[in-house]
């Protein structure tokens, strides 16, 4: 972003990478896949790079409002400084926070999730799918992330993206408004669960595996981690893969 700004360029959209997108070894592949799609399509975009800080979502959900607002206000200063108008992000937690919570602190942007962005690219014909890739005809189930689904009522965009791949989309019993959490929301990602009889991600993975799907599609970095761990726990990592939507589209596009 800084580079474009010094050259006097204004990108169409800011890609908010998020902490998992920047640092998580597995999830960096999702960032890379999404950026490759954007480059291929020729979308004018920028990232904040080292100027980006955590949105503050986990701090706020864990109760630390001071820390959340410190992060948020600093991020808003940076984004307002670059006169950012539109933001796309692959993380539903970042999406929810920037879209719904930054306005109260002076950050007003048009924020969309990458599933919506990909759907738009597909609908506009900018992304053309071969439909013959490794997913063709395969059974795929989509795990709704809470912060995309119930929190923001985005249920159809990710499903439209999956259907564009010419696959068989199978739903879990608990889906859409009734979708079961992966167990990582509300800052649970950053601590051990409270004592109980089972881990939430195992419960959810069992449900996903029961559909007979060979791929579990997700649209959230935390869900990706939780579901991947769940599949490993069930010793199914050889025949069941967990992918983010952007990875699936990039694979199909052969990039």
């Amino acid at each position: 972003m800084a580079e474009m700004s010094t050259n006097g360029q204004t990108p169409e959209v800011l890609f908010w990478v998020g902490c998992a997108g920047s640092f998580d070894e597995r999830y960096k592949a999702v960032t890379q896949a999404f950026v490759k799609i954007l480059n291929k399509v020729g979308v004018s975009f920028a990232v904040l790079g080292p100027e980006e800080a955590c949105t503050g979502d986990p701090a706020r959900r864990a109760g630390n409002e001071f820390l959340f607002q410190m992060q948020a206000v600093a991020n808003i200063q940076v984004m307002n400084g670059y006169e950012v108008k539109k933001v796309v992000t692959a993380c539903p937690h970042c999406f929810n926070t920037i879209k719904n919570e930054y306005p109260a602190l002076g950050g007003n942007y048009d924020v969309i999730h990458h599933s919506q962005f990909l759907q738009q690219l597909i609908n506009e014909g900018k992304v053309t799918l071969k439909g013959g890739g490794e997913f063709k005809g395969k059974k795929i189930t989509f795990h709704d992330s809470c912060y995309l689904g119930r929190a923001n009522s985005v249920y159809e965009a990710p499903r439209e993206v999956i259907k564009a791949l010419d696959v068989e989309l199978v739903e879990m019993k608990r889906c859409k408004t009734k979708g079961l959490c992966c167990g990582a929301g509300g800052a649970q990602m950053f601590k051990e669960p409270e004592p109980g009889k089972k881990d939430i991600n195992i419960e959810r993975t069992e449900e996903a595996l029961a559909t007979g799907a060979s791929t579990i599609a997700v649209g959230c970095p935390f869900c990706l981690t939780m579901m991947t761990d769940g599949v490993k726990n069930q010793n199914r990592e050889a025949d069941v893969k967990v992918y983010d939507l952007a990875e699936m589209i990039a694979k199909d596009m052969g990039i």
Binding site: C19, F23, G185
Partner: protein, 444 residues
């Protein structure tokens, strides 16, 4: 005819009205022990939400069997109460079936409809008793329902069954007397359901029939008045509060957490941003977050009084499903129990909030609130739009900001965020490293 029954009726009505008004004042005051919050924007969507969710029972229909049974009781309640109007007028004036001569054939149709609904309510209540006590539907067997809440639920169902029997008995005996050309009683033509009960009473003398008919009449009307008072002590308040509760629904995106402007001021000062002296930040900052019910918004307390303990929230809660202590229903029940305790104490001139107890700690533990994934499943599941999550998150704010009592792993996450602007301990300068691989590939 003696005027005594009329006097007795007016007296009973007066006493019931007095007790009810005292109870309503108590509940209203308790709800307003919560903090002030203005939520009356978008009135058009609010009315629409209330009509759909409360009046139209939209969210009940996610579970079709209980929804159907509940609908019968609900319609029965609304419609049969029309007859109560006649009961009250008869009671005051000393008339008998005041509307019958006025409405003619229509009256018989109406009574037949009431009888149909009475039977429908009766059958539904029996079905609900079976679901609770024989089938033991899982959400009705959770620990928070042990004791009074389970008893309360069964009592309501049993009272409704008895009240419906009273109506049918009254109509049956009434019509036997009418057929015997008593003169005072009016023949209404065929009453489908109560006529089935007639054989039971056919052999009785006129006197015994009059006694039974009068007893059933008094039992029904006094029963309804007593039930109205009982409701104010019971989880059954949802029959009234569902309406205001849905009107005051959160209409924003469920994922949004409410901002704390008092914190924004301090953060702006720390970051050297000019602070606007805005009027919405009150001069006296109380506590950060919620430790007790008076730290919550009055809407949170209204939510608690509107809860009928159906447990759909708990049945959908991922933490509860996997054996954690958290139960969103218990959160709501605890808020109500605590505000009742404080309200009673204040009225008795006691310590009120200064009784050495608090919602967090004495009713709700940290283990419970820490288990929440903030997934909004409970909020989505509630048939009357109660928001347990808002309460949980306010308590987390108290624990983090007033007690610094969050779990150690969260404190470590806070530290990472403070020092490296990420919940994980990575150097901020490495944020763009992922791009190297993309660059390499695109060079090729």
């Amino acid at each position: 005819m003696s005027i005594l029954p009329q006097l007795a009726f007016v007296l009973i009505l007066g006493i019931a009205g007095y007790i009810l008004s005292k109870r309503i004042k108590f509940l209203r005051r308790n709800i307003l022990l919560g903090k002030a919050e203005t939520r009356n924007d978008q009135s058009e969507s609010r009315w629409k939400t209330m009509m759909l969710v409360a009046f139209g029972q939209q969210k009940m229909f996610k579970r079709i069997v209980p929804a159907f049974l509940h609908l019968l009781i609900y319609v029965g309640f609304l419609v049969i109460n029309l007859e109560v109007l006649e009961f009250i007028l008869d009671g005051i004036i000393g008339s008998h079936r005041l509307f019958a001569p006025v409405l003619g054939g229509l009256y018989t149709t109406a009574i037949n409809m009431f009888e149909f609904l009475a039977v429908a309510v009766l059958v539904s209540c029996v079905a609900f008793l079976i679901r609770r006590n024989v089938m033991k539907v899982e959400r009705f067997t959770k620990p928070e329902l042990k004791g009074w809440p389970a008893m309360d639920a069964n009592l309501i169902l049993v009272i409704e069954i008895i009240l419906m029997f009273a109506i049918l008995t009254m109509n049956a005996t009434d019509q036997i007397l009418a057929n015997r050309e008593d003169g005072h009683y009016l023949a209404l033509g065929t009453l489908f359901f109560s006529s089935m009960l007639m054989p039971i009473f056919e052999g009785m003398s006129d006197g015994a029939l009059v006694f039974t008919e009068r007893f059933a009449w008094w039992f029904h009307i006094v029963g309804i008045l007593a039930f109205a008072i009982y409701v104010t002590y019971s989880k059954h308040l949802h029959i009234f509060l569902a309406f205001p509760n849905t009107w005051y629904s959160n209409l924003k995106a469920k994922g949004e957490m409410i901002n704390m402007p008092e914190v924004t001021n301090e953060v702006n000062m720390m970051l050297g941003i000019p602070v606007e002296t805005s009027s919405d930040v009150s001069a006296e900052i109380g506590r950060f977050g919620a430790k007790d019910v008076n730290d919550l918004s009055w809407i949170n307390v209204l939510n608690a009084y509107s809860c009928t303990e159906c447990g759909r929230c708990t049945a959908e809660c991922p933490a509860n499903l996997t054996g954690k202590k958290l139960s969103p229903r218990k959160i709501m029940m605890d808020v109500r129990d605590r505000v009742e305790e404080v309200g009673k104490s204040i009225d008795a001139g006691g310590a009120g909030f200064e009784d050495g107890k608090s919602l967090l700690g004495d009713y709700i533990t940290k283990e419970e609130i820490n288990a929440c994934t903030s997934c909004n499943a409970c909020v989505e599941a509630c048939p009357v739009n109660i928001d347990p999550l808002a309460i949980i998150l306010q308590m987390r704010r108290y624990v983090a900001m007033e007690e610094s009592g969050t779990p150690a792993q969260w404190n470590a996450m806070f530290q990472n965020m403070e020092t490296s602007f990420s919940p994980w301990k990575f150097s901020p300068s490495d944020r763009f490293n992922w791009a190297e691989k993309v660059k390499e590939e695109e060079m090729m």
